[in-house]
């Protein structure tokens, strides 16, 4: 009886392990399929339609039905909007991370932390709606333009990456050993000196990861910026002129591009480019973390 029970438990154990491993394998298969499908469909423009990759990457004319597949305006749009978000949202997010890790009294943190969780949870389409109905008119009134363009997109993205940067840089600071804080204080350093010269350098690789994940979030964001960009497929003349980005152009044109057309292939090339950027960021994160250990 005991033996029977034990063998059944043993069999359950093996079945469970097999199922758990199979579920883990799904992750590997999924990312492999995604890379594969997008690599195939994202390079048809070059191999099947014989458009040169250089004409795609550096061409400035985008006319899907007219045979021009220059994606530079969207690459520039994505990079400028993301760059703006990192320049504004990056330092701000790290500062707030410092605040939560080093300054915030428990009672304040109990109010502010849930606020950040709600900001994470607000869907990007709602950020877009806020941008469209609140930010763009305000920017328009201030600058006497239409208000849409890369500045509006940059501001929306700055806000959207804040929660990511805040919580990850806070985590990075929290794991800095207390001995460093105490040592710095006992040398007579003020709190700010401890933060700026000891803690932030000690947490630098974790903070770098926070910023890189902020970049990843910003570069892939679609609807929030599509609603505020103005959607002109041209190289942006200024931060306040209508522009477009890789993500927003895909969503605009995908419905119109006929099956099997170079137009559609070019959109998949843009998606593949986005995927390659995301993978490059993952590798960057690995490098940043390896430096620490």
């Amino acid at each position: 009886m005991v033996g029977f029970r034990a063998s059944r438990a043993h069999r359950d154990e093996r079945i469970a392990l097999a199922i758990l491993m199979a579920c883990s394998a799904i992750f590997v298969v999924a990312i492999a399929l995604i890379l594969g499908f997008l690599a195939i469909n994202g390079t048809k423009l070059f191999f099947q339609d014989h458009v040169s990759p250089l004409a795609f990457l550096f061409g400035t004319t985008w006319d899907g039905f007219g045979g021009h597949y220059g994606a530079l305006p969207f690459i520039v749009g994505s990079l400028v909007a993301t760059g703006f978000a990192i320049l504004v949202g990056g330092p701000l997010g790290v500062a707030i991370g410092v605040f939560f890790s080093e300054l915030a009294p428990a009672r304040i943190a109990a109010v502010f932390k849930p606020a950040i969780e709600v900001l994470v949870g607000i869907p990007s389409i709602v950020y877009g709606w806020l941008g469209l109905t609140l930010l763009v008119p305000a920017l328009g009134a201030i600058t006497h333009t239409n208000g849409d363009g890369l500045l509006a997109a940059g501001i929306v993205l700055s806000i959207m990456i804040l929660p990511t940067v805040i919580s990850l840089s806070e985590d990075a600071l929290r794991v800095v050993p207390n001995a460093l804080r105490e040592g710095s204080a006992s040398l007579g350093a003020t709190r700010w000196e401890t933060i700026s010269r000891v803690l932030v350098p000690a947490a630098s690789s974790g903070i770098a990861v926070a910023v890189i994940l902020g970049i990843a979030r910003a570069i892939g964001e679609t609807l929030a910026i599509q609603l505020v960009l103005g959607n002109a497929p041209v190289l942006p003349k200024s931060l306040l002129s209508p522009a477009s980005a890789l993500t927003s152009e895909i969503i605009i044109d995908m419905g119109d591009a006929p099956d099997g057309s170079p137009f559609r292939h070019a959109l998949f090339s843009m998606a593949f480019l986005l995927l390659l950027i995301a993978m490059a960021l993952i590798i960057l994160i690995r490098l940043a973390l390896r430096k620490r250990t």
């Binding site: 392990l17 883990s24 590997v28 709602v126 805040i166």
Partner: protein
């Protein structure tokens, strides 16, 4: 030591070090002020968003709006079917996401040693987590809509969202399991439990609180997802699907997709009104998901572990 320095140092040097100390204290005070203002921005923005969305949407949202059918070209349409589709796709997505991601999380946290397979799974999950949702949407389009010939379906949308949310759900599982004290495992093993029995009877019940919190927060994200659904579940309620359709094989336009379409190609004259109402409903849902996540997580932990956390 400070006294000795003061005795030996000339007066000028002493004054200098005093004014320098004052300067350093001033810098510290300014930095403190700036850090407080930076943090206040987050709360300020959230209050601004909530106030604005309520101001614009509160007059729109009523029972008729929440339950009414959308109209094609005249004013006065509601969002009932969109809300239904959002919950429909949410539940379908969770039904796929939870078993797979919790299993994978259990494997990585409880079984896998530092082997190669574990590293590959972990790296795949990290990579999967950074795939932009629009790219995931195009993958769903290639596979479910075109390769499988499903056309735009609720099922295809839910599977695409599953891929998008697997990594977060797995991380939540790993963190929840990591929070269970090692003594629980040891006690169960000492009683003769196998590894699997230990996980199911000792570890999972004590991790259920944080696990539930994580599931509900991820549910909130699924509810609001848009970009991945437009080309997989479709952007039209009328396409082959009745208003409240139980089939997974038909198009399902969710509330967030509807908000996008409202701006993009609405024929109704009151598109702004519907947009403001839909945006408010989405915000309120996010707030509800957050509150439920906290309360349910705490309650469950207390019931299943007999202690308050």
């Amino acid at each position: 030591m400070a006294d000795a320095a003061m005795v030996n140092a000339p007066d000028v040097k002493q004054d200098l070090s005093r004014s320098r100390a004052r300067g350093r204290r001033l810098v510290d005070a300014v930095a403190t002020l700036l850090l407080w203002s930076a943090a206040s921005i987050v709360v300020g923005l959230l209050l601004l968003f909530v106030a604005y969305l309520f101001y614009k949407g509160a007059s729109v949202v009523d029972w008729h709006f929440l339950t009414g059918n959308p109209t094609a070209a005249q004013a006065g349409g509601g969002i009932g079917p969109f809300i239904y589709n959002s919950f429909y796709i949410l539940l379908l997505t969770l039904a796929f996401t939870i078993p797979i991601a919790v299993s994978a999380g259990m494997y990585l946290q409880e079984y896998a040693s530092r082997g190669r397979f574990r590293q590959i799974v972990q790296f795949s999950a990290e990579s999967l987590a950074t795939v932009p949702s629009i790219v995931m949407g195009l993958f769903g389009l290639l596979v479910f809509v075109e390769a499988f010939h499903w056309h735009f379906t609720a099922l295809g949308g839910a599977l695409t969202l599953t891929l998008l949310n697997l990594p977060a759900m797995m991380r939540v599982t790993q963190e929840s399991l990591a929070g269970v004290p090692a003594t629980y495992r040891e006690a169960s093993m000492a009683l003769g439990g196998t590894k699997w029995q230990t996980i199911v009877r000792a570890i999972l019940p004590s991790a259920i609180g944080p696990l539930t919190t994580g599931v509900v927060l991820i549910a909130g994200r699924i509810f609001g997802e848009t970009a991945a659904l437009i080309f997989t579940a479709g952007a039209s309620v009328s396409y082959g699907r009745s208003a409240y359709d139980p089939s997974v094989w038909h198009t399902a336009e969710t509330l967030s997709v509807a908000l996008y379409q409202t701006h993009r190609e609405a024929l109704v004259p009151d598109a702004d009104r519907i947009g403001n109402g839909a945006a408010l409903v989405l915000l309120v849902m996010v707030l509800l998901f957050n509150i439920v996540a906290r309360v349910a997580g705490r309650r469950l932990s207390r019931r299943l572990t007999g202690k308050s956390t």
